[in-house]
């Protein structure tokens, strides 16, 4: 028998007994960032495939939301910072070894790309707003130029969209001290989920049958890939180290079993794939909004649940003999 206990009470807030350094802000950012990446990606692909006309919602309308979603995500991230007035420090250094540093600089580049992407279809998507913009010479010029280079912009957007999508998973994956995140499947899963949520948003938003149909097909395949990836993730962890096995236990009977399988996996993947499959077979359209809604909720839950599990999974387990809550008496 091995008994390991702390002799001196250790209860550093948010570190003990399990990490709770991040709550909803970071997952929300990861979700919104992924969503924005997915929209960028589809908008660009449709342009390049010359299917802008068939998918006007995503290429012309939804694309505007990339900057909004990103900004909301960034705001959430800002709220998470515990020393937040030093936020400018992200941009007084570039640390190549730090994914978060990459992330913050990528965002700086992505913003203008998003803007260009928006401008390149602005006249079609938001004619009223475009007209206002045209009142300024510079505005008209910008619209003209970006329309002219629409394809080039789309080409540039794709790698950045993918980078952003992967980054949201990579961010966690590279924190090697958290065994649950320590699998290469995670960035891929996050990317596919990002695309799937963007597809789902398109299904929800579009009023054009063809577009909805197309994206239902796309989403169906993406969810299928996701299910496959989740299984891969389980297999990958199960062949991992002791601590990864312990982390896996958290979703195989442990305290996150319900969260992972019932909330994320069932609501986010199983139910929508069934609903979308039914829709594709029978072409039933009655409750078409249900599946994408579930996908979106699932997309957020994926990030939240994976983050919680990761924070919970640890190399060390410090067990207090004394009641850590007693330290509150010091306040």
């Amino acid at each position: 028998m091995i008994e390991e206990v702390l002799v001196t009470l250790r209860a550093n807030p948010k570190i003990d007994p399990v990490l709770s350094t991040w709550s909803w802000e970071v997952p929300l950012y990861l979700f919104l960032g992924g969503l924005a990446a997915g929209i960028m990606f589809f908008a660009a692909i449709m342009v390049l495939a010359n299917r802008q006309r068939e998918a006007p919602f995503v290429t012309e309308k939804l694309v505007l939301w990339t900057v909004i979603l990103l900004s909301v995500g960034m705001a959430a991230l800002f709220l998470d910072l515990s020393h937040r007035w030093y936020v400018f420090r992200f941009y007084t250094a570039f640390r190549p070894s730090s994914p978060m540093s990459w992330g913050s600089w990528i965002l700086i580049i992505i913003y203008p790309i998003c803007l260009l992407q928006i401008l390149s279809t602005f006249r079609q998507g938001y004619p009223n707003l475009a007209r206002r913009l045209e009142r300024f010479d510079i505005g008209a010029l910008a619209l003209d130029l970006s329309e002219r280079f629409r394809r080039r912009i789309a080409w540039i957007s794709i790698p950045f969209a993918l980078a952003l999508g992967i980054y949201t998973g990579l961010l966690l994956n590279t924190l090697v001290a958290r065994p649950f995140w320590n699998t290469a499947i995670l960035p891929v899963l996050f990317l596919v989920s990002a695309l799937s949520t963007a597809a789902a948003l398109t299904i929800l938003g579009t009023s054009i049958k063809g577009e909805r149909n197309l994206f239902t097909q796309i989403d169906f395949s993406l969810i299928a890939v996701e299910i496959f990836l989740v299984l891969l993730l389980v297999i990958d962890l199960s062949t991992g180290s002791q601590v990864q096995l312990a982390a896996l236990d958290l979703i195989l009977g442990g305290r996150y079993t319900v969260g992972f399988w019932l909330l994320f996996f069932s609501i986010g993947l199983l139910i929508p794939i069934l609903l979308e499959g039914r829709e594709l077979l029978r072409k039933s359209t009655s409750a078409f909004y249900l599946a994408p809604l579930f996908v979106l909720i699932g997309g957020y839950l994926l990030r939240q649940v994976v983050m919680n599990i990761g924070l919970h999974s640890s190399w060390v387990d410090y067990a207090n003999q004394f009641d850590p809550q007693l330290l509150q008496l010091l306040q």
């Binding site: 028998m1 008994e3 206990v5 001196t8 009470l9 067990a319 003999q321 004394f322 009641d323 007693l326 330290l327 008496l329 010091l330």
Partner: protein, 706 residues
């Protein structure tokens, strides 16, 4: 210093001021240095010139600032007033409080006589009040460190060697090649230089033999851990003597030259074979033989450690006699690695008039019992303070939280308070006993006062100074000031002829060739030894016993009708479903005095009860759950957290002492953990010197309804 990034905190870059102190968080009295950083309290560290601390303070000493910073400290004198039948305390001025006490004491002296005043004290400031008491006309001082702690060992060693072990203990562990601990958990009790010399022995790979039913900290470091059945130590000690004599392993020269009664001992232990001891102690005979041989192989640098808290079963003087005898057989008394001879500074007292003649002795409270009690027995003084024929009508309680310290008094304090005319409590913090006082006087902490010079027996004689690092917080005052003010009001001003205690210090230091100015700088002054630290080999020594020898056979005990050689007798076993209550120290706390210190609270805010996994299964207990304990007499404890561990025998439980405070003024400590002292209600008294046997109690578990 440049080249480092700005924005990394660097403590201690403000203007630094340092001043010497003597730690008062426990009674080891380590010399330390107080640092202030930009005028703000920063830290207390050990004084490198000090033999008690060797430049390092223990956990509690390091946390000393917590005592000074404690917002729950006593802030002003408090007087008990009757508010329509409700007793409460009202803040009063020092004048009012002191005058109140003086009036009562004047009346006491004229109505009953001054010898009716008793002083309970513990710790370094007590001296000022002992002085006051003697000037007033009483010599009834009592400290729980005698009958509740190390009295049996002092008496046993005095009977055997003519002198006690003393404090700090004269154990020469840094030179020991073999150390035997019997129920003593050095490391869990953190007496600074004792731990340091113990660790030094470990570093040098000294053999360590630990006798303890619990897998204590030193047990985990031992070459031999003997998990003895509780209460059977004397049997083991006798068997060890048997082996040493039978196998001719004892120090023949030493025994012949210095001891008296070896032949009687040889005869006495003949039948106490290891095979006899095995069924009693549960230590296999071969193991007993092997460990005896290890002791002999390393003798005389083998220390059978005398322990400190040894008031266990009511036959403790006899057990410690066995320890003393075993040391004599190994020839370790007076030898390197065994017991060295201590030396103090010959420090004259400040000249004062002679005390009045006092015939009443504190031993009168023993009412003819405990013939070898050379100091006051706190339980006896307590008993003698109750009832119509009480010997005591007033108490001064200085820094001694009686209910947590003296077992058996918790339930009877009200009775005592009703019987006494006056209880004065002098303390730093509100605690259980202050609640029963008529007047409470707030003393300032050791960091805010001058005090008597520390002149402790040690390897080398030395003096150490305690001086204030800070002005007294709130309306608290130093002990010397309180004693002097009371003296003045009692017409005893002649005994306090100084204006300020620094005059006393200055005078005393001058007599030994130093000065207050020097001591303020150095904190400690070490003097050369004038006597040898060990026996000079081959010379005869006159011991302070009736025979002038080390009395293996105690002529004094024989004369008093006690066993002149220790015998084993069985102790009570736990009844079914009950477990022996074992208690001990935790390194982070001193008795019940430090639980409200925020630094120490932070690392150990409560105590836990250790239970063996089989017990946990039987009672369905799990780690972290709270239970209550009930003892054999139906006394229930506060809630206490379970720790399931293999480190305890299935027939006992263990908890750290000093928790379970009920004094509401202690905002951190109150209600945290359980108090072992309250669960100790079955108390066999040592007939030789009156020690309270504290290990004869059994507890069972109760659900904690929250």
């Amino acid at each position: 210093m440049t080249g480092c990034a700005a924005g990394v905190r660097r403590p201690g870059t403000g203007e630094l001021t340092v001043s010497p102190t003597i730690c008062d968080i426990c009674f080891w009295k380590c010399a330390g240095i107080v640092y202030k950083d930009g005028g703000e309290p920063w830290k207390v560290v050990g004084n490198p010139n000090d033999l008690h601390s060797r430049g390092r303070l223990c956990t509690r000493g390091t946390a000393g600032l917590g005592a000074y910073l404690d917002p729950d400290r006593l802030k002003t004198p408090l007087l008990r007033v009757d508010n329509n039948g409700n007793q409460r305390f009202k803040p009063v001025s020092w004048d009012e409080a002191l005058e109140f006490i003086a009036a009562r004491l004047r009346k006491l002296a004229s109505d009953h006589g001054p010898e009716k005043l008793a002083l309970f004290s513990h710790g370094s400031g007590g001296g000022h009040f002992k002085h006051l008491l003697q000037a007033y006309g009483s010599r009834s001082f009592v400290a729980p460190s005698f009958a509740q702690c190390r009295g049996p060992r002092e008496v046993a060693f005095k009977l055997t060697y003519g002198e006690g072990v003393g404090s700090p203990d004269r154990t020469d562990m840094e030179h020991s090649r073999c150390i035997v601990l019997i129920g003593s958990h050095i490391g869990e009790n953190l007496h600074n230089s004792q731990v340091q010399t113990f660790a030094a022995a470990l570093h040098k790979k000294a053999k360590l033999i630990t006798v303890d039913p619990r897998f204590s900290v030193p047990a985990g470091k031992s070459d031999y851990w003997l998990p003895i059945k509780p209460g059977t130590d004397i049997a083991l000690l006798l068997a060890w003597m048997h082996v040493l004599i039978q196998e001719d392993l004892y120090d023949r020269d030493y025994v012949t030259r210095y001891t008296h009664g070896f032949t009687e001992l040889k005869e006495h232990v003949r039948k106490f074979t290891p095979e006899w001891a095995y069924p009693i102690t549960a230590i296999p005979a071969a193991r007993i033989r092997e460990t005896a041989r290890v002791m002999a192989a390393n003798a005389p640098a083998t220390l059978i450690h005398p322990g400190r808290h040894v008031a266990w079963y009511g036959d403790d003087t006899q057990r410690l006699r066995a320890v003393a005898i075993l040391n004599a057989l190994l020839g370790s008394w007076g030898r390197p690695g065994g017991y060295y001879q201590q030396e103090k500074v010959a420090l004259p007292n400040y000249p004062i008039p002679e005390y009045p003649k006092i015939t009443a002795r504190v031993q009168d409270a023993n009412r003819g019992k405990y013939p070898e009690a050379y100091a006051g027995v706190s339980t006896a003084v307590f008993d003698a303070s109750i009832g119509p024929d009480a010997l005591y009508k007033a108490w001064i309680v200085y820094g001694t939280n009686l209910p947590l310290t003296v077992p058996g008094v918790a339930g009877r304090l009200q009775e005592a308070a009703d019987s006494l005319d006056l209880i004065v409590a002098i303390d730093i913090q509100p605690c259980e006993v202050t609640g029963y006082a008529d007047v409470i006087l707030p003393e300032c902490t050791y960091l805010e006062r001058y005090d008597t010079l520390r002149n402790a027996p040690e390897r080398r004689p030395s003096l150490a100074l305690r001086m204030p690092a800070f002005k007294p917080k709130y309306d608290s005052k130093p002990g010397w000031w309180i004693a002097k003010q009371l003296g003045k009001r009692l017409g005893l001003g002649d005994y306090f002829p100084w204006k300020d205690y620094t005059e006393v210090l200055e005078w005393q230091l001058k007599q030994v060739g130093s000065s207050l100015a020097e001591m303020k700088k150095t904190g400690v002054k070490v003097f050369p030894r004038t006597t040898p630290m060990y026996f000079t080999e081959g010379t005869d020594i006159e011991f302070n016993t009736p025979t002038g020898k080390i009395e293996i056979y105690s002529t004094q005990l024989a004369k008093l009708g006690f066993d002149p050689l220790p015998k084993y007798s069985a102790h009570q076993e736990p009844p079914p479903d009950y477990y022996r209550l074992n208690y001990g120290r935790a390194p982070a706390h001193t008795f019940g005095r430090t639980q409200n210190n925020k630094y120490l609270f932070e690392i150990m805010p409560e105590n836990v009860i250790w239970v063996h996994p089989t017990v946990a299964r039987k009672w369905d207990l799990e780690n972290g759950r709270y239970v209550r304990l009930k003892n054999q007499d139906g006394v229930e404890s506060n809630r206490i957290r379970i720790r399931v561990t293999e480190r305890i025998r299935p027939d006992s439980v263990f908890m750290a002492h000093g928790f379970g405070h009920t004094a509401e003024g202690l905002r951190l400590a109150s209600g945290r953990g359980a108090d072992d002292a309250a669960l100790i209600t079955n108390i066999p008294h040592d007939p030789i010197m009156g020690a309270s046997g504290m290990r004869a109690n059994f507890v069972t578990f109760l659900e904690d309804e929250v």
